[in-house]
């Protein structure tokens, strides 16, 4: 969204400059009895003087403005996707962070480092890290027995990173498929 905002901002700024130039030119033109100069605003003026608020065209344009305004507002106010999780630092001048992908890789490596775990998939979100590990052994009891050691390993890995807002850990250990 940050990247999409740049062309949108450019278009808005250019449109505001163009509108400002037109208004300034028309005000000067009106004072010099040479109006309209750039835009035939007198046509709009007469249209507005003859159009009632309950006209269909007013409702249509109002609906368009509501939709456009709501869309822009929703796009701008939606919280950004978290790409980096800040680390604690003793020095205010130091801004250190771990990326979501980096944290997922670390947790995956830690989970597969536990004896009895053959693979793991990790999803790191803003507030939660969801780890699904597959046990090397078949059967539900073997997988359940591994849940605690995997959780402890991952928790100590998270603690060692000293994240400013560590995500909540959710661990599932599933038995190996056929």
């Amino acid at each position: 969204m940050r990247l999409a905002n740049r062309p949108l901002a450019f278009i808005l700024a250019a449109a505001l400059i163009a509108a400002s130039v037109v208004i300034i030119a028309e005000v000067i033109g009106f004072a010099a009895h040479r109006s309209p100069l750039l835009v035939h605003w007198s046509t709009w003026y007469h249209w507005a003087r003859g159009t009632r608020w309950d006209a269909l065209v007013v409702r249509v344009w109002s609906a368009i403005l509501i939709v456009v305004g709501a869309l822009v507002l929703i796009l701008e106010l939606t919280p950004r996707r978290v790409t980096r999780l800040p680390l604690r630092s003793g020095d205010n001048a130091t801004d250190a962070a771990v990326t979501r992908r980096g944290l997922a890789g670390m947790l995956r490596a830690a989970a597969t480092g536990v004896d009895g775990i053959s693979s793991a998939t990790v999803k790191v979100r803003r507030r939660r890290a969801i780890v699904t590990a597959a046990s090397a052994a078949r059967g539900r009891p073997a997988a359940t027995a591994l849940t605690e050691p995997v959780t402890q390993t991952l928790r100590s890995q998270l603690d060692s990173l000293d994240l400013r807002h560590p995500p909540r850990l959710k661990v599932h250990v599933v038995p190996r498929g056929r």
């Binding site: 940050r2 905002n5 740049r6 949108l8 901002a9 450019f10 808005l12 700024a13 250019a14 505001l16 400059i17 509108a19 400002s20 130039v21 208004i23 300034i24 005000v27 000067i28 009106f30 004072a31 003026y45 507005a48 003087r49 003859g50 159009t51 009632r52 608020w53 309950d54 006209a55 007013v58 409702r59 344009w61 109002s62 609906a63 368009i64 403005l65 509501i66 939709v67 456009v68 305004g69 709501a70 869309l71 822009v72 507002l73 796009l75 701008e76 106010l77 801004d95």
Partner: protein, 133 residues
């Protein structure tokens, strides 16, 4: 840095203004401000009357405001097009009698990267020197 905060703030403000204008127009059109008002023409109201009666000073004032707005937007566009996330050469403060010492950001970044790699036992690092404010 490409005015990202300004972009977001101004676009949100623009969205809010457009939404309020649309909602106001719809409310006036559907009779929320009274059926009598919805039957009036667009310029048949107190605000339009005020603008009509005070046009002598109001329109030049609007033109002045538009000039300031255009200049602000021009600066906004320049920031959008010209700024980067990278810092320039860093001047080392101190006595300049025998010349000025400058530090290239790439050298600083390389040194920091080496430190971090050594400390974290990592294999690679994306080097980045932020803009000092």
């Amino acid at each position: 840095m490409h005015a990202d905060r300004t972009n977001r703030l101004v676009l949100a403000l623009f969205g809010l203004l457009v939404l309020v204008a649309g909602a106001g127009g719809m409310a006036a059109s559907t009779g929320v401000f009274g059926v009598a008002f919805s039957r009036q023409t667009l310029f048949d109201n107190r605000a339009s009357g005020f603008i009509g009666h005070h046009g002598g000073w109001l329109w030049p004032a609007v033109a002045g405001a538009c000039l300031l707005l255009a200049l602000a937007c021009l600066r906004w566009i320049l920031v959008l097009l010209a700024s980067t996330d990278r810092v320039g050469d860093i001047t080392i403060p101190g006595d300049t009698d025998q010349g000025t010492t400058t530090l290239q950001p790439a050298a600083t970044a390389a040194r920091r990267a080496a430190h971090v790699l050594e400390y974290m036992d990592a294999t690679s690092l994306r080097r980045w020197v932020p803009v000092y404010s």
